[in-house]
């Protein structure tokens, strides 16, 4: 392999005396192989070009979760990201701190808000009435992917819902919650599902799949969220907008194979909620986008129903069983 020149375009952030952040981009030229990691380059820059460049790092082996930062188009662990995977055709890559969290300096963010969300879900095994003492060989199969989480914050940084809501728990906290809800020994499974069904919890996820795509440890947070939702509905926590919306979908697809968008809104947010949305409805009407109140039955509705019955019979298998990594 041949050594090449690359440009790391790094966002430098500095705290002003009033606590605000002054931000600028700075280019650093480095030389290495296309398999050299971003962390090695950052260390190289800190050691040989600019000692003030600041970033978190510790284990160098993708297990401590310190070095998550925006590299190119998403958040990655600097220690396991090869430069060759992320540079553009000119050998340039942008590096900036994680999103959705306050910046302290250069590539270092304040991790407290992230960990506050983790604390909110009560991240520990709890005694209680739902506890089963037997833990079989397959007890953790369902949560195996979730126990890989190293709390690096990558998912939170790239989460589109966290971008617009400070209160949303976020993918890592929900994945952690799923780990406890699924532990046979956990005593408060139902209480946890009830709490997670409230606002800013598991129903706030918009299922954009960013967290699954970005996670460096293959935790698949969104799949955990989907499983949590299924269990919440099974326990009867169906009063929120999210649950009602999902159940309305379920009802329509099962019945006609198509959505009745005319009544979907009322069924999701209720009469009063719908009145609040009248302004939007008016605009839609002006543009001729109000759907027909009488949707037709989709072709092949029998097959759709058959699929539904299959799903209902084996919900967890179909939804979310973690895919095995196939060797090439």
């Amino acid at each position: 392999m041949e050594s090449k020149k690359y440009t790391l375009r790094i966002q430098r952030n500095e705290q002003n005396s009033d606590g605000s952040i002054a931000s600028k981009w700075q280019d650093f030229t480095v030389e290495g192989l296309d398999t050299t990691t971003i962390l090695s380059f950052l260390e190289d820059i800190k050691g040989n070009q600019d000692g003030s460049l600041t970033f978190r790092q510790s284990c160098r082996s993708a297990i401590c979760g310190s070095c998550a930062m925006r590299i190119g188009d998403r958040t990655r662990l600097a220690c396991k990201t090869h430069i060759g995977e992320v540079v553009d055709e000119n050998g340039v890559v942008d590096i900036s701190p994680q999103r959705n969290q306050p910046v302290l300096k250069d590539l270092v963010i304040d991790i407290d808000p992230f960990f506050e969300k983790i604390r909110k879900i009560r991240p520990y095994l709890t005694e209680g009435e739902d506890s089963d003492t037997h833990v079989g060989a397959s007890a953790y199969d369902q949560v195996n992917h979730v126990t890989q989480c190293i709390m690096c914050g990558s998912c939170y940084s790239d989460c589109t819902m966290s971008e617009v809501s400070d209160e949303y728990l976020g993918p890592a906290a929900l994945a952690k919650a799923f780990r406890f809800v699924s532990d046979p020994r956990e005593g408060k499974k139902t209480a946890r599902l009830k709490a997670l069904s409230k606002d800013h919890g598991m129903w706030s996820c918009v299922r954009c799949v960013q967290c699954v795509a970005t996670c460096p440890k293959d935790v698949k947070p969104m799949e955990a969220i989907v499983k949590l939702r299924t269990r919440g509905i099974e326990k009867g926590f169906v009063k929120g907008v999210g649950q009602r919306h999902a159940l309305a979908f379920h009802e329509d697809i099962n019945k006609s194979g198509d959505l009745n968008e005319f009544t979907l809104l009322t069924r999701s947010v209720g009469i009063f909620g719908s009145i609040a949305e009248m302004g939007v409805a008016f605009h839609l009407m002006q543009k001729g986008k109000i759907p027909s109140p009488f949707p037709h039955k989709a072709e092949g509705i029998q097959e759709v129903r058959a699929m539904y019955h299959e799903l209902e019979a084996n919900p967890l298998d179909v939804e979310t069983k973690a895919a095995e990594v196939e060797p090439e």
């Binding site: 050691g47 000692g51 993708a62 037997h134 953790y140 126990t147």
Partner: protein, 564 residues
């Protein structure tokens, strides 16, 4: 001033386990950590944790294996204690929610590990340390323990009677320097892998706790015993778990020959780590390696087993070495991994310095003697985190007053940091001096230690100290000044390097991980004793003395020739 009954330094497994004992005892306990607890290097332990939980195994057998593995210089009272309580300590972690891998029927699964006569290493795939660490953090959150996160300790303070009075902290987030008062301090700061240029450790493993304890007057023991792990990745040093050999991985040289049978006919790859590392180094020295390394071959295990049992190892090999172990052998070499030495304690973690306790890799209790067995370090942290935590909690409960904190310590630290930070640019960078120190110790104090190398490096130490006085830093800011912190930490690393080198030069025998080319035999008559290094304030150097090995009179523990 912040004040607590007990301050624990380090939020890895030992520190957090100890903190839970403080909570149980009802004392005011706080933890200080220079990184978030979940970033602690305990998370990088992969393979597992030993405990005789299988009815067919025995605690006595575990203890015997450990005494032998330690090459008869471990303290037998502490080894017996550790192996006796191991099963309960593991089951306690299990009850707190650690997702151990299971057998059909629900028992915790166990795998074979080096130097063990029974398959007694409990594991969670190849991320055992990480899941244990997360479990203890969960319990810490549940208990509401105060953690001073991202704060470095820069001084261990004593009152006028010489009793520990607390610490001076450097808050990394703000740059402020302030005292924290305590009736007792427990050092659980882990190891000092960074002292060696090629190591499996995190870059934050700088041995601060050991170095501050040394400077405060506590002896460090057995610092010359440094474990080289047989399978660090060739280019980065990152760890490939012993579990990879436990699952059946074999070691081969450049021509594909499986060489371990020549060195350890019975246990082969699963001989003790010192034995395997020497075998590898011999292959490399004699020209049968490639690019300074040899290979671990997992291909015959098949994709399914690799993916189930060693998924992380596979990913690390792909990410850091560009090799997929399903298809190719992984290039590895002996790499500095663990410090058997540390702050000298009794079997309850108490040091000779009043009010100072230590646990985990930072301590030398000594359960690992001259060579630690794989799977015993996680156990050490869990067991002695608990025992020392209990002990120190009782200790502070017995104290009627809190020792006066010497505020002049804070002033001195502020001056020291200011001088370092604002020293005019000398062109001498900490990173350059660190490379010099760490490369030299790797070369001269590695797997095999030659007299000329040891003499050479011991002549370099004064030069390093002089050079250190010239180090200047570029970053002048207060917020997250890692440049400054690393420059300061380098002083600690030079202190520890001196302890390692002086101990190794003095010990004219080969035992466990300490292998002299000029004294190739173990010498029980003269050297079955602990090396103690203490800081001499007037000469500004370390002094060496020796201490007895604590024996229990068990006839099985009488030293014999150690073969595998």
């Amino acid at each position: 001033m912040n004040s607590h009954d007990l301050v624990i330094v380090g939020a890895g497994l030992a520190g957090m386990r100890a903190a839970l004992e403080g909570v149980k005892a009802g004392i005011n306990v706080a933890v200080v950590s220079k990184i978030h607890p979940l970033r602690s290097h305990s998370c990088a332990a992969q393979g597992g944790v030993n405990a005789a939980i299988d009815p067919a195994d025995s605690r006595e057998s575990h203890a015997y294996d450990t005494v032998k593995g330690a090459d008869y210089i471990g303290d037998e009272d502490a080894i017996d204690l550790m192996c006796q309580v191991a099963p309960e300590c593991i089951l306690e972690m299990d009850a707190w929610g650690t997702p151990f891998s299971r057998l059909e029927g629900g028992l915790i699964a166990q795998r074979p590990f080096g130097g063990a006569s029974f398959d007694r290493t409990c594991y969670a795939a190849d991320r055992t340390g990480m899941v244990l660490l997360h479990t203890l953090w969960e319990q810490l959150v549940k208990a509401g323990v105060q953690v001073y996160e991202e704060c470095s300790i820069i001084k261990l303070s004593k009152n006028s009677d010489g009793h520990v009075a607390g610490l001076v902290l450097y808050d990394i987030k703000t740059g402020s320097i302030y005292p924290i008062q305590a009736k007792a301090v427990l050092m659980a700061t882990g190891g000092y892998g960074r002292v060696f240029i090629s190591n499996t450790n995190a870059t934050t493993n700088t041995g601060d706790g050991m170095a501050l304890a040394l400077r405060a007057g506590a002896p460090l023991a057995d610092m010359e015993f440094v474990q080289f792990h047989p399978t660090g990745l060739l280019t980065s040093g990152v760890l490939v778990t012993e579990g990879a050999r436990g699952e059946g991985g074999i070691l081969i040289n450049a021509s594909g020959e499986r060489f371990m049978a020549k060195y350890a006919p019975n246990r082969k790859e699963l001989a003790s780590r010192d034995v395997v590392s020497r075998a590898e180094q011999t292959e490399i020295i004699e020209g049968r390696g490639k690019n300074g390394g040899i290979f671990i071959d997992l291909r015959h295990l098949g994709a399914a087993k690799i993916l189930e049992r060693l998924p992380q190892i596979r990913q690390l090999a792909i990410d850091l070495e560009g090799v997929d172990p399903i298809h190719d052998p992984i290039p590895v070499r002996p790499t500095m991994h663990y410090s058997m030495g540390g702050i000298r304690t009794d079997k309850y973690g108490e040091t000779p310095l009043p009010g100072l306790f230590a646990a985990g890799e930072a301590a030398c209790i000594s359960v690992h003697g001259a060579n630690r067995l794989g799977g015993n370090s996680l156990l050490d942290t869990i067991v002695f985190g608990k025992i020392t935590g209990e002990r120190v909690s009782n200790y502070v409960k017995g104290m009627s007053t809190t020792p006066d904190f010497p505020m002049s310590d804070v002033e001195e630290c502020i001056v020291e940091f200011n001088n370092l930070k604002h020293r005019p640019d000398t062109g001498v960078k900490a990173v350059g001096l660190h490379t010099t120190v760490a490369t030299s110790i790797n070369l001269n104090c590695g797997v095999f230690r030659k007299p000329e190398g040891l003499n050479k490096i011991s002549g370099e130490i004064d030069g390093w100290r002089k050079e250190y006085e010239k180090v200047s830093v570029e970053d002048k800011s207060d917020v997250f000044n890692i440049d400054l912190l690393r420059a300061w930490e380098l002083k600690n690393q030079i202190d520890l390097a001196e302890c390692v080198v002086r101990g190794a030069l003095a010990r004219t025998e080969s035992r466990g991980a300490h292998s002299r080319t000029d004294y190739t035999e173990r010498d029980d008559k003269n050297w079955r004793k602990h090396t103690l290094t203490t800081w001499n304030e007037s000469s500004q150097k370390v002094d060496i003395s020796y201490g007895e090995v604590r024996t229990v009179g068990n006839p099985d523990y009488v030293p014999k020739v150690r073969t595998y």
